[in-house]
Amino acid sequence: MRGIQESLQDFEKLGVKPVAISVDSPSESQDLCRKASYTYTFLSDPHTEVIRAYDVLHKGAGVSGHDIARPAEFLIDSTGTIRWINLTGDLRVRARPEQMLKAAAAL
């Protein structure tokens, strides 16, 4: 998440918008963005509607046993087609901004 913030200008140059999605409420995300100085878009999916639509649900993995999103990245082009995905098998390993930028440059 931090890496994306640091690469925000590169994303802008390519005309590609990074959007973070989790089950956190808008105010929880606002808190996070303020504390971590994130300025890109954070969306709240508390009922996991979008998380399920993309089929990246991690059932019962929240602290109190609720469903959350597994880490995943999807690049969507302007026609609404998925053009690149990254699905990690390890929570500590996320897509690097360079990978996303490379995929975005190929759009």
Binding site: M1, I4, F11, L14, G15, V16, K17, P18, V19, A20, I21, S22, V23, D24, P26, S27, E28, S29, Q30, L32, C33, T41, F42, L43, S44, E49, V50, I51, A53, Y54, D55, V56, K59, G62, V63, S64, I68, A69, R70, P71, A72, E73, F74, L75, I76, D77, S78, G80, T81, I82, R83, W84, I85, L87, G89, D90, L91, R92, A104, L107
Partner: protein, 143 residues
């Protein structure tokens, strides 16, 4: 001369034990210490260092400090505890569901409408307008 109790050995072991036991009830509750348990690693380092100094002085200066046997046993125990913790972290971080059914490249991205941090509704259509693309980054969240 009476040999002194080697307090560093016991303190070091106590810190290692606290580092091990504190993750689930305490450090896992905070986003900053949850995904990478650096606070626990730091405590392990502190505990290990104390133990090391304690054991070293027990062997170097056995006339003054006790703890050759207890120190050795607690060192082995500590090493086992640290190894168990690290193995647990690695195991848990790989414990995520398979994404075989996640939407694949080439499929149409489902449209959505969600609230942003200001509580304003944002649709996928809005996001794609005036942009060549959008990267959706799903993350676990900080609950």
């Amino acid at each position: 001369m009476k040999r002194r109790r080697n307090i560093l050995i016991w303190t070091g072991f106590a810190v290692v034990l606290i580092a091990f036991l504190s993750y689930v009830p305490f450090f896992a509750q905070f986003p900053i210490t949850r995904d990478i348990p650096w606070a626990n690693y730091l405590l392990f380092l502190i505990g290990g260092t104390l133990l090391f100094i304690g054991v070293r002085r027990a062997f170097r200066d056995p006339a003054q400090y006790r703890g050759k046997i207890s120190g050795s046993i607690l060192s082995v125990l500590s090493a086992a505890i640290i190894a168990l913790f690290v193995a647990g972290v690695i195991y848990l971080s790989k414990l995520i569901p398979s994404a075989d059914t996640a939407l694949a490249v080439g499929t149409k991205a489902p449209a959505f409408a969600l609230l942003d941090t200001a509580g304003k509704q944002v649709t996928s259509g809005d996001l794609l307008k005036n942009h060549r693309g959008v990267v959706l980054i799903f993350y676990r969240g900080y609950w």
